[in-house]
Structures are given as structure tokens and as C-alpha cells.
Amino acid sequence: MASHGVSRAAATTVRSEEARQKELQQIDTYKDLVNQVNAKIVERQYTIEVLSLITKLLNENPEYYTIWNHRRRVLITLLALDPVDRGDRASPEELIENDLQLTFSLLRKFPKCYWIWNHRDWILQKGESTLEADTTRRLWSGELQLVNKMLHADSRNFHAWSYRRFVVAQLDRIQSGSIADAEAPKSMIELEFEYTTKMIKINLSNFSAWHNRSRLIPRLLDERKADHNARRQLFDNELELICTAINTDPFDQSIWYYHQYLMSTLAPDCPEQSKIVPNLTTEDRTKYYAHEMEYIQEILEDEADCKWIYESLLHVAQCFLVIDAGTDLFTTSDMRNWLENLQRLDPLRKGRWEEVGASLGK
């Protein structure tokens, strides 16, 4: 009912009578399965047998959220069974592994289905309250492998990125709750930061990775207990990284947004917890802005038709004016010139450029 990327030509061929009959039969079989499951749930038959009927149905239709709820109702009962009553039926660990497998195979086919991601989250939380701490830790670490696979298949899947942040938070929580090892493993934040570097190197255009990086940096610095110099060092490294990226492909939006992010942390009104280097002086800021403008103008020499360059120059110039209205590094007529180029190169956003023009004054 909300289909994406399905060609109409392929979908609207007229069904033969034979095909129609076959489809009617499929409908009967499907409805029969739905009715069976619903009837057993009404009777509160929360058994292994019903669980496998549910599995069958979810494999046919993982979007059927009520059936996922039914699955949880059954599992809650089965997980709580006394070992004596359970006999040789599935143990809690087996039940949980089973659902992890089910959701994994479904996610491979339906990577954007909210309900599958939700169930996976639910079953792991359930596992944590049911199983031994060691098993739980093993399960959560396994989740990182799953997310790696999902992001390998689609590096922008925002479900997978959200889930990644969630899993990391769980692992951090478990880690901080356990006794520190003699040789403490590398913290999750360091590893996650490295992961974004790796993803960016594979594909510069992966804004999801750049975004995650921007979210990790303040936490990374806190965890490293970084002093002023260390913070500056990291900021300078990031600037160098993004400038190389800009040079590689100045037409990619993702890269410019990350550049914009770095610039936003310089602003005096940047929220304290988002700043990379606190306690910057006006002189420090001036130097950074001047350096960026110079660098971007250099690229302009080869890429006079890249609108992002002009947009960025205008943006940095506006930031500059906030801290030093009297700078002689550029003039209003430079700004007007960049704007004219934007109007030339980017007619889609004509209305926006007109307003920017008005804000520049006469």
C-alpha cells in the first residue's frame, strides 16, 4: 500500500484466469492461517505449536504488527515456564536465539520494516532479564555484527544507524556495570569513531556516517579527558579530513554539511556541550574562518560552477561578520558576487537567493 520502486509495467500485466484462480487460492490459505492464529490467541493457547504458526505467518507478512504482539504474548508465557513444567521443550535461551534468527532473516528481506527492528529490541531486553549476564553480553555484541551486515547492504539505512547507536549504548551500559578487566578493552566510542572513518573512506557521500561522527566527537573528547591542545588537534584533523574530501568531490552535499557542522562549533552561541574546542578567543575564530575562506576560494579556481562553494563562502562570511563586522578579508561586494553566482547556478532556489540578497542590504 506504500510501495517504493516497483515498476508499473511489471505490476499491471493482466492476470490470466488461471493466475486469478491461483491467487484466490493463495488468499484462502493466507486467511486460513490468520484465522487459526487469531483463534488460538483468543483461547490463550500460548504454546510452542502456536509460536510456530505465528512464525509461518510473520514470514508471509512481517508488517502485520498485531501478530508480533501475539508472538510476545506467547513468548512471555513460555519464557516464564518453570523448568519442571517445561520438560524437554525449548529453553529460554533457545527461544531467544530462535527469535534472533527469525528477525535476522526477515530483516535481510525487509530492512526498513519498523516492527521487525522493534521485536528484535524487545527480545534482547527480554533476554537480559531472563538469561545469565555472560550470555546477554554475547548477544548484544552479536548485534553489532548484524548492524555491520545491514549497513554493508545499505550504508544509509537509518533504522540500522539508530539501532547501532542503541546497541552501543547497551554495550556501554553492560561494560560499565562489570568489573574492569586488567587490560581494559578499547571503549565503544573510540571503536565507533573508527567505524565512521572506515565508512567515510568507503564512500565520502555517506552523510549518515558523517552525522554519527559529529555526534561522537564531544563524547570522545570527554572520554579521552582531552585538554585544550588535544581538542584543537582533533578539530584541526577534522578540518583537514573534510578539506581533502571537498577537494575530492566538491559537488557532494554530505561533505558540505559536515563542513557546516565543524563551522557551527566555532560560533560563540554554539551550545556548550556541542563545542569541540571551548574557550576559543575571537582571534582563534578569526584565524579559522580566514583559513577556511582562503581554502575554499582556492578550490573555486578549478570549480567555478560548483554552487556549494559559493554557498559555503557566503555562510562562512556571515559567521565571520558575527564576530568581526569590520573585517577587511572580504567586502559586501564579494558577498554579492558569490550570491550572483548562486543565482546563476541554482535557479531552483531563486526565492531563497532573493531573500539572502535583501539581507545583504542595498
Binding site: M1, Q26, Y65, R156, S162, Y257, R349, R352
Partner: protein, 336 residues
């Protein structure tokens, strides 16, 4: 249903062919949706039935055919999805969830049926309000989708949307909800599904709309977010949902509604977007798809048409950018 001023549908045949909207085909397409019971897809999408009805009904209202679906049958179906706890499921026998409760309320509002609801289900409106209010997390201000607890800014928006239509916003802590939205904000001016998540046009729609309902648009950096949203327009006129992604008709709605609330709709090229949306029509059987040449569905049909309404396409009824409902309906419910 009054049509907005400007040339009526009769004038549309004078339009150049690439600017034509096939109103009658779309009406027939929507009417046909409930007659497809011999297709497996009909049964596999039962979990979207109530959303589908809201999408179809809204599209029909915007197209100027509010009576194309039988009112009493629609009302009957909506009420058959209402649970004792005040929540709606997607269809009879499906569990109650925020997503369907909002659609249920939106349909009742569009049908002007709140009084009928209270007559047939004593205290009905109040019950629905309590169901929604019960899903707010008192600590963070956000909302869960149902008793199982999944949280997402979609549910927060849904809650404020439905409660405001029923004049029951006082049942929840709006300030806390606003605080939560703030915690989902990113440096680019946009919002994600939860704190720390990447900006995404769909979530921006939910957050900007929720802030509009809460009367707190002052918290949004209009120029920064407006700039980000305007960059969603691609050369072919279509809009994408995030940087470096493909265009898609449903984003016409998520992006444009937010631009409209920020009074920045003129920051994109409306003519090119109109042409793109119109190319996504099925000119023979009606309906709109995500992209030209793809299979149509009612989801992209309503968001395409609502987008055209924001673009002031002639003959369409005015849409409310905050609610994705006919403006006439929200004016009646909200009294403004």
C-alpha cells in the same frame, strides 16, 4: 466542499498536457481500493486499512469529491476498529496503536462525526484522549506507540495532532513534549527519530508540525532549516528526504509542509515540482506513484495531491500543512 478560488476543474482541459491532473481517474482509483478483495495484496495490507482510509478520504476531499466514499460505511468501519481502551487498530481484530488512533480521529474529524462518536460510544472522545495521554512518558515527554513501548517522534506528533483536533490537548504535558522535540534537534536545523538520530524530512515534518500545534515554532531556526529543506529539491524538480538520496513523491509532502509552516515555500521551484508530481500519475488507471513509471498506491496518491494543493494547483481544496487534512476541516475543529 468549497473549492479554492481560481479556475475550476472545468478549466483544466485548457492546461498543457504535462500540467494535467487526472482528477476523475484518481477518484475512481480510490473508490476501487476496497473492491480488490481478489488480490492477495489487499489481504497482506490489512494492517494499513485505517491509514489507507484516511489517505483516500483526504485525497478525495482535496480533489473536490468529498462524497465519493459512502459516509455511513466509512463511519461504520472506523468505529469497528475502536477498542474499549480508546485506541484504534488498523482493522477489526488488530491491536490498538497510536498510528491508527490518529487516523481514526482524523477520519472522524473529516466526517464531522465527533458528536456521533459520543452518541454511539458514551464518552468516546474522552476515552480516545485518555488512551493517547496514557502513552506519554512523564519523564521524557515523548510518546510510545502502544503498550509495548516503542518511542518515536512520529507518535509524539500523532498525539498532539489527534488531541488538538478533539480539543483535548490539556490531557498531556505539552511543554515536556516540546522539550523532547528539542532534544532531537541537529546542527543542521533538522530533527531525527530520537535524540542523536540523523535529520530526516519525515521526522522534520512530525517535529515542525508538533511545534506548530504547541505554538512553539519560535524554537526553530527558520532560515537554517528552510535552507536544508530547500536543498531537498533535485534537478528533475522532485524532492528527496535526506542529502544524496533519490527523489520521491511522498517527500513532496514532508518537505513542503515544513517549508509552508516556516513560510519558506517560495524557496523551492514550485512549477518544476508540480510537473514532477504530475509525471508520477498513472494517466490510465489513476493514482500516483513514488516516481514516474512506478506502481501507484494510495499513500503516494494523497501526499502527491496534498503537495499539489500546497503548490496552489488550480481546482484543489486547500490543505492544512500541519495536519495533512482539508483546511476547512481543521478550521472547524480548531476554531481557527
Amino acid at each position: 466542499m468549497a473549492l479554492v478560488s481560481g479556475p475550476g476543474r472545468g478549466g483544466m482541459s485548457d492546461m498543457p498536457v504535462e500540467m494535467r491532473l487526472f482528477v476523475d481517474k484518481h477518484v475512481r482509483y480510490i473508490q476501487s481500493l476496497d473492491t480488490r478483495k481478489d488480490e492477495l495484496e489487499y489481504w497482506l495490507t490489512e494492517h494499513l486499512r485505517l491509514n489507507g482510509l484516511y489517505w483516500g478520504l483526504t485525497a478525495l476531499h482535496l480533489l473536490g469529491h468529498p462524497d465519493a466514499l459512502p459516509r455511513d460505511e466509512v463511519l461504520e468501519f472506523v468505529l469497528s476498529c475502536l477498542h474499549d481502551n480508546g485506541g484504534f487498530g488498523a482493522a477489526p481484530g488488530h491491536d490498538a496503536h497510536m498510528l491508527y488512533t490518529v487516523s481514526g480521529v482524523q477520519i472522524l474529524a473529516t466526517l464531522d462525526a465527533f458528536d456521533e462518536l459520543d452518541r454511539r460510544v458514551p464518552g468516546g472522545r474522552q476515552k480516545i484522549g485518555q488512551f493517547i495521554a496514557g502513552l506519554q512518558d512523564p519523564e521524557t515527554g515523548t510518546f510510545a506507540g502502544d503498550e509495548w513501548g516503542e518511542r518515536d517522534t512520529r507518535f509524539l506528533y500523532g498525539a498532539l495532532n489527534a488531541l488538538s483536533l478533539m480539543k483535548l490537548l490539556h490531557l498531556v504535558n505539552v511543554d515536556k513534549a516540546v522539550e523532547h522535540i528539542q532534544s532531537c534537534a541537529n546542527f543542521d536545523g533538522g530533527y531525527g527519530t530520537s535524540p542523536g538520530a540523523e535529520s530526516h524530512s519525515g521526522q522534520i515534518f512530525t517535529c515542525v508540525s508538533a511545534l506548530t500545534i504547541a505554538g512553539r515554532l519560535d524554537l526553530v531556526d527558520h532560515d537554517k532549516l528552510g535552507a536544508w529543506l530547500s536543498e531537498r529539491q533535485l534537478k528533475n524538480g522532485g524532492l528527496n528526504g535526506r542529502p544524496e538520496k533519490k527523489e520521491d513523491v511522498c517527500y513532496s509532502w514532508w518537505v513542503m509542509s515544513s517549508l509552508a509552516n516556516l513560510k519558506r515555500l517560495h524557496w523551492i521551484d514550485g512549477r518544476k515540482l508540480t510537473e514532477f508530481i504530475l509525471q508520477c500519475q498513472d494517466p490510465e488507471l489513476g493514482g500516483l506513484a513514488d516516481r514516474p513509471g512506478d506502481m501507484v498506491d494510495v499513500f503516494h496518491t494523497v501526499f502527491g495531491i496534498a503537495g499539489l494543493s500546497l503548490l496552489k494547483y488550480p481546482g484543489l481544496a486547500e490543505v492544512d500543512p500541519t495536519y495533512c487534512m482539508p483546511r476547512e476541516v481543521t478550521r472547524r475543529c480548531l476554531g481557527k
